[in-house]
Symmetry: C2
Subunit: 493 residues, 2 copies
């Protein structure tokens, strides 16, 4: 994560600026935010709450300690000494141009500037800046703390290095920079969004469909394909084995049909506005924007996690980000296998995400085993097992006891006590606690076998590994045996 | 599932017709398909393979026994006696019109006809039919066996009952009919797709982006939002707490900007065709259409399952479909708790979906507990526990033993032996087998407690329930105790 600056300055704290604040802070970057709006502080705090909630669901990878978010009293104080500035002011060219010019004079000469503009040309926005070569477009998508896409586009005066430096920062935030090589109004993504949006407005204006029916026509059909593959690869597949040329020649003529209404721009009359607002209210069915935001975020988290399984699209971006997080050196170790009083290791935390909740409103049984399995993984990393070297420990037996219920969104942590080991075996006892009140919720006693993964057979562990295990086992020998260790399942006689 | 006919006739067996064949057959409907193309049989067989694979991943709900798919030698033999006909011929008005007219003369007078047309007007397609009131559009989306959307749109002569009957059939297939009340070219969905597609072609034609960059601009950003919420609800949220009117007034003016190229239709010159084909080949990176289909299907399955967690969009459609499947009366019971030799119950099958595979290429530990938990759920349904009545059995202890590895796509089944019970407890022993070779892969011994869910305390089970449990326990008393019952976790001394 060396590409991340220690501190960034954000200009503008609305939905986009607040989203940036959350993404930077959750990646350990201190944020200085300038926004003269009286509600900026509240908006940013709400975005940060949403983002924390989403990040806890999205990944169990170790995020760095959260950065601070402070409101700067002036533009100059925000950008002073900042290595990276992200501007997210309202979408008016004159305003952005003045803001960037003023900020460029107050910041150090090598500061990188990125603008969140969704469609204004960087060549025009950089025109009045000192060192205009430092400006690039960095156009994110709402919610900024979840969607990986960020369009990066330089203007006529932009240095190639600026595009590279901004891309590296976004990548380190877990995002997917898409470098747009040719500067055009609205870049790539918003051209596509705008085309669909105009047609959607016509369908509602002409009473062909309500806003909810338009949404249904997307989310039950092509929207699912767009989430995984976009449009060209989807059509390549639809063309079947005959290939892309066949598809284009076959379906190309439909482009000539007078289907879309896109030759005109729908006029936003009072009548059309009233209609859309009334239909949108009906669609929201009394749910507040905050409720809908949480629902959207939960869905996005599940979609991204689903794609991660296949290493596709946004899921592939998440997987790469997690590999970085896991590879980062730990910031101090919460265990006590060195000096001090012996205590069980504390290696893993978890949150009960919505995907684990069953019809009783509690976590499904398999959640517990996932939490204990992740704890075992953390233990193996802790003792220095190199999973890339071809050896691993496999679980051969687990005894689970349920002493309480984990509920949605509760924060949990586990502890691990080493009960025994030999050159091929590890005998461990994990306990799962609710973090708020330290209530014991479940325990797992496990036997693990050291295996040669390719050969699929047990094999003695490396002596250096056994030495580290022995150090922990010696410390844990002083601990009392857990009450539920050694149990078997039986109806008391 | 009473809305499903026993037999349907399909006219056309390409990507869409083959997809329909798969969706009907997997829902237990016999399919008679007419397609004069020499490769129709192979296309349909391949679609059916894809669909079976996807269905196994998508749901563990009990699907009916698969229907047969037979090729009919003539149009007349396909539609004779069919209660439902789905036409999926090439998208040419004259061809479809003639085909529907001929089929309408050969079919019984009350047969419902649906056409898969993606944009032709039903009023014109029904013009030459006998009993034209029987035709409706039923426009599905590729892959038909996975995407729930189907646009239903009648023509001038269509009877309202036809629209209702077709919608009921689609709903019983696990789809989401969207009734389009006003007949227009391309209906709703393809207008939106077409708008986006035209703009995408312009971006490539003008060398702003490659086909892969266009796809990236969608799948890393708005595509994820479209999969869960469509476009209007997404923008409502983006507008923040100020609401939809604020959003429209704020972002409306951007519609006037000269962003999109949609005033023109891009001409499909040889040069543009060559460019798109070459870029599409690069994007496919040597993967065949069959490989890409499987990747697309796996992603769609994960996306739909992710949305099911939140009861949103395509996930809500799946959840409703599964409730129907679970509620359907079982077609005979594979257990032996009545007459015959006593044997463990065989209540559950599972397939190792890709979401369960960990970095070793094996199923994650929690997969096994999921499979055993589902087996316990099946047992509770089997003994007649009514989960809606406010009582349930909760697992308090589980002892898992791993004897083998489950690998991706393997078919597994479980058996269950009742080891004991009292008025509050159930003591069960589950075994998980690989179905192909009956290899024992894992076992789970569990203790369950009968609870009052609302009061969160144990309570004796209903005598009628206990009686059914006792009957099974008595039969199982004659079975030997499983080898691994009663174990505790320990390193052998």
């Amino acid at each position: 994560m060396t590409d991340l600056p220690r501190t960034v300055a954000l200009l503008g704290g609305g939905v986009i600026g607040g989203g940036w604040a959350a993404r930077f802070a959750l990646n350990g970057v201190d944020v200085r935010l300038y926004d003269p709006a009286p509600d900026a502080e509240q908006t940013v705090a709400e975005m940060l709450d949403n983002a924390r909630r989403a990040a806890r669901r999205l990944t169990l990878a170790p995020l760095p300690a959260e950065g601070s978010v402070t409101l700067a009293p002036s533009l100059e104080e925000a950008v002073a000494g900042a290595a990276f500035v992200q501007e997210s002011a309202p979408e008016r060219e004159g305003l952005k141009r003045d803001l960037l010019a003023a900020a460029s004079r107050a910041a150090p000469p090598d500061t990188v500037f990125a603008t969140s503009t969704s469609g204004l040309l960087p060549s025009r926005l950089q025109a009045d800046m000192e060192h205009p070569e430092r400006l690039t477009v960095g156009h994110p998508f709402n919610p900024v703390y979840l969607l990986p896409l960020v369009e990066v586009c330089g203007g006529e005066q932009t240095a190639p290095e600026t595009v590279e430096r901004a891309s590296a920062v976004y990548r380190a935030l877990g995002m997917r920079p898409l470098v747009v090589r040719r500067e055009i109004d609205a870049f790539v993504a918003d051209r596509l969004l705008e085309a669909l949006w105009r047609e959607a407005l016509w369908l509602v204006a002409d009473d062909v469909a309500t806003v909810e029916e338009v949404d249904d026509a997307i989310r039950f059909g092509a929207g699912l394909r767009w989430a995984c593959m976009g449009t060209f690869l989807t059509y390549r597949i639809a063309g079947g084995t005959a290939g892309m040329r066949h598809f284009m020649e076959h379906f190309g003529p439909a482009l000539e049909l007078p289907w879309t209404k896109l030759t005109d721009v729908p006029e936003l009359t009072e009548e059309l506005l009233d209609k859309i607002v009334a239909q949108s209210d009906a669609q929201a069915a009394g749910r507040s924007v905050r409720e809908l935001e949480r629902l959207r975020d939960d869905c996005l988290v599940s979609l991204i996690q689903g794609l991660r399984t296949h290493d596709v699209g946004a899921g592939a971006v998440l997987a790469a980000y997690e590999r970085e997080l896991f590879a980062a050196p730990a910031l101090g170790d919460p265990s006590s296998d060195g000096a001090g009083e012996p205590a069980p290791l504390r290696l893993h935390t978890a949150v009960v995400g919505p995907q684990w909740i069953d019809y009783n409103g509690h976590a499904h049984e398999s959640f517990y085993l996932q939490a204990f399995g992740d704890t075992t993984d953390a233990l193996l990393r802790h003792v220095g097992l190199d999973l890339g070297a071809g050896f691993s420990y496999y679980t051969v037996e687990t005894h689970l006891s349920h002493l309480g219920q984990a509920r949605p969104e509760e924060r949990l942590h586990t502890t691990t006590q080493l009960l025994g080991f030999d050159e091929k075996r590890l005998h461990v006892f994990h306990s799962l606690y609710r973090t708020d009140d330290e209530a014991l919720i479940a325990t797992a006693e496990q036997m693990l076998l050291h295996v040669d993964v390719a050969a699929e057979r047990t094999i003695p562990a490396d002596p250096a590994l056994l030495e580290r295990i022995e150090r922990i086992a010696l410390a844990h020998a002083a601990l009392p045996s857990p009450e539920r260790a050694g149990r078997s399942v039986a109806i008391p006689g």
